[in-house]
Symmetry: C2
Subunit: 425 residues, 2 copies
């Protein structure tokens, strides 16, 4: 047996014998509510873990002119005090390829708490599943990365290339945490992001961006509602119109990587708000949502198509000729990204998946954006997305992750680190 | 010429010669933003005016156990500090019928200020129109009442019956101001409410009440929106379903008083709010609105019909069998009311309308509720609604009133006071 195989066997054994440590870490991370602006407590746990692993730790609060004015900067906020990014570096001995392991620490809001069986920040473990907001998206994946690093560290494995672990903020709001890491100088020969792909391998990922649509009505007394124009009813027409655009845009997608994805680039209307008095006809409705961007189009092309489509509302309802809706692109935006399906990092990941799982992995396109678009396009770091957890649970009530998958992913990633960075025997 | 006619001629002259005083008062009242909770400044103007007219003035902040627990008490609030009710009494010499002149001082919010040509609290006068929130609903009508009283006072006209002027809060939220006045003991042989009827005479009025509907969805990541259930899309089905109920309910209305009203008892969806993240499928939407109640049904009958109709949503979309919507009746409620079309107060009002305008007035049913339902049903005071201003402008941006109509209504009401209460010659 070669050294490489011996080391992989040792890692396999180590992960089998250190399950409690991994589960404990994930419970602690899930308990630390890290919604936007509240990331500090969770990052503190990450920092302590990285120190325990003997890594060089870099902690910073993002900001500054270059960053805030960068063309790829998007965020609903410009002040990040109390929301640190964290990087841990395992320096290689030289001569190997470097690898970024990137995961985001921020989670989306828990939503209607009543729809959760266990409290969203309980971290409760039942039947091999760990429950809580962020368990799947993506603290489970982050723990896979940390477990891989812990195994390497505990077994005193030396690598030729650098491994750069990143725990970033703001992925759910467009990736300014990863952008900040790129501007701080962190680049590598490849990157893995363990977002919840359900152990599928995603070389390609949808981009997306947030929109806000303003729909105007005309107020009137509710008792004579026929004298006004309800912005709520007009918003219903707008939403229906968006459904049609979604259909047209998705019919154009022919990449076989999207074969099993029902809607490759969805248009999601996420929030609605309008009217200010029950007895008045509402004169205004605001819609906010997420617009999927194909890897085969630019952000600007996608914006134009949406804007022109909204102008065509006047053909659906002449009212919109008089009162056209307006659109803003705000807050988050995820750049689409893709690497070749036969890129070396893909080959290593596929081979190690087969070694650990004993099956051929599914290679698909991601149904959502990740920070991989930024890493690939802005950071010149070819990125593949692969991780435990299923999208069906991300952003849902009762989000959970199968603990077993966290360890499987840790093993596959640890093996891939060795193959990619190279063992210093 | 009899004394009655002489006096009426004097009133006509007085109103012609005191236009500036009336316009000035209305401008001042409109400038005093009297949205819910902010009524004090406008009431101060009313109090000063009543003192100047030599009336007995009663000012109080409503409250107390009996009031708050009264079956007809409805309000989004239970604390009314800083929101006084005002009554001014012109005591009669005895032997005549008493008359309540009731108007509300509260106005609905201005809504989207950008849709206003002049600022909503400008009180700007252009081409005989006075602009501002509340100009039509119903500070214009209130000024008609005060002008009628001012004419009587200036001309030293003595009446046999009492005249009770009321400037109440909370009409736009269900009439607790008028309820409080009733419980304080203010009742009369008839009442006039100068809501904006466009100078039509309304012996019958729609009731209405506010509802809040909770629609549940199931959250999911927006990138895989097909894995969730959008509460916004389900809310669209609910709104469409409500439209059908509105149609069914209105087809039943056969009273000729409603002949020219397009939708006698509308269902207005006034506000919508749901979702909390652009990239998530919204798991909850809240709708608030106003449900018109026919004078021929009870509040409870109307509630039952709505509640059963919402249960039937499951036949429209099986999803609602699993996740039924829930409904609350909250905040405001206006009791429907009606008096006979040949009631004496109707006869006096119709006769004086003809005298002043020279035409037969239009007698119709009100397309909205007023405090008249409470006065008639709870206060045992038969109430007719008649005033300047048009419903089309109430609750609208660019609300205005034609100043001329304010004076015409003042004259008709002053004449009716004389006929109803009786001149003490």
């Amino acid at each position: 047996m070669d050294v490489q195989s011996t080391v992989k066997n040792q890692i396999h054994e180590w992960l089998k014998n250190n399950r409690d440590q991994g589960v404990h870490l994930l419970v602690e991370l899930v308990k630390a509510d890290s919604t936007q602006g509240n990331e500090k407590a969770a990052q503190k746990i990450v920092i302590e873990t990285l120190h325990d692993l003997g890594l060089d730790v870099d902690v910073w609060e993002q900001g500054g002119e270059e960053f805030l004015n960068h063309p790829y900067f998007v965020s609903p906020r410009t002040e990040f005090k109390g929301s640190p990014n964290v990087v841990g570096i395992k320096k290689g001995t030289g001569g190997g390829r470097s690898l970024i392991l990137n995961g985001h620490i921020d989670v989306v809001p828990a939503g209607d708490v009543e729809q959760w069986e266990h409290h969203p920040y309980s971290g409760k473990v039942v039947d091999g599943k760990l429950y809580g907001r962020g368990a799947t998206d993506m603290k489970g994946g982050n723990v896979s990365l940390l477990l891989a690093l812990a195994a390497l560290q505990s077994l005193s494995i030396k690598l030729k290339g650098d491994v750069i672990f990143q725990s970033v903020i703001e992925e759910e709001s467009g990736g300014s945490g990863t952008l900040s890491a790129i501007l701080r100088g962190y680049k590598a020969d490849a990157a893995i992001i363990p977002e919840p792909t359900n152990m599928k391998i995603f070389p390609k990922q949808q981009g997306s961006m947030w929109f806000r649509i303003h729909v105007k009505g005309r107020s009137a007394h509710g008792g004579t509602r026929y004298e006004g124009v309800s912005a709520i009813e007009k918003a219903m027409i707008v939403i229906k119109h968006l459904r049609k655009l979604e259909q047209i845009r998705n019919e154009r997608i022919s990449d076989p990587l999207y074969e099993k994805v029902p809607i490759p680039i969805p248009i999601n209307v996420g929030t609605i708000e309008g009217g200010n008095w029950p007895s008045s006809v509402p004169d205004y409705v605001k819609l906010e949502g997420r617009f999927g961007v194909s890897p085969d189009e630019t952000i600007d092309e996608a914006k134009s198509e949406m804007e022109n489509w909204l102008l065509a509302l006047k053909d659906v309802d002449p009212y919109f000729a008089e009162q056209p809706v307006s659109i803003e692109w705000f807050g988050a935006r995820w750049v689409p990204g893709a690497i070749e399906t036969d890129h070396d990092i893909m080959k290593d990941l596929i081979a190690n998946y087969q070694k650990v799982i004993g099956e051929v992995p599914i290679v698909e396109a991601a149904p959502w954006g990740t920070d991989g678009g930024l890493l690939t396009k802005v950071g010149a770091t070819p990125t593949v997305v692969f991780g435990p957890g299923v999208t069906e649970k991300a952003h849902h009530p009762n989000e959970y992750i199968e603990i077993e998958k966290v360890f499987e992913a840790a093993e596959i990633i640890a093996f891939t680190i060795i193959d990619w960075c190279g063992l210093d025997e």
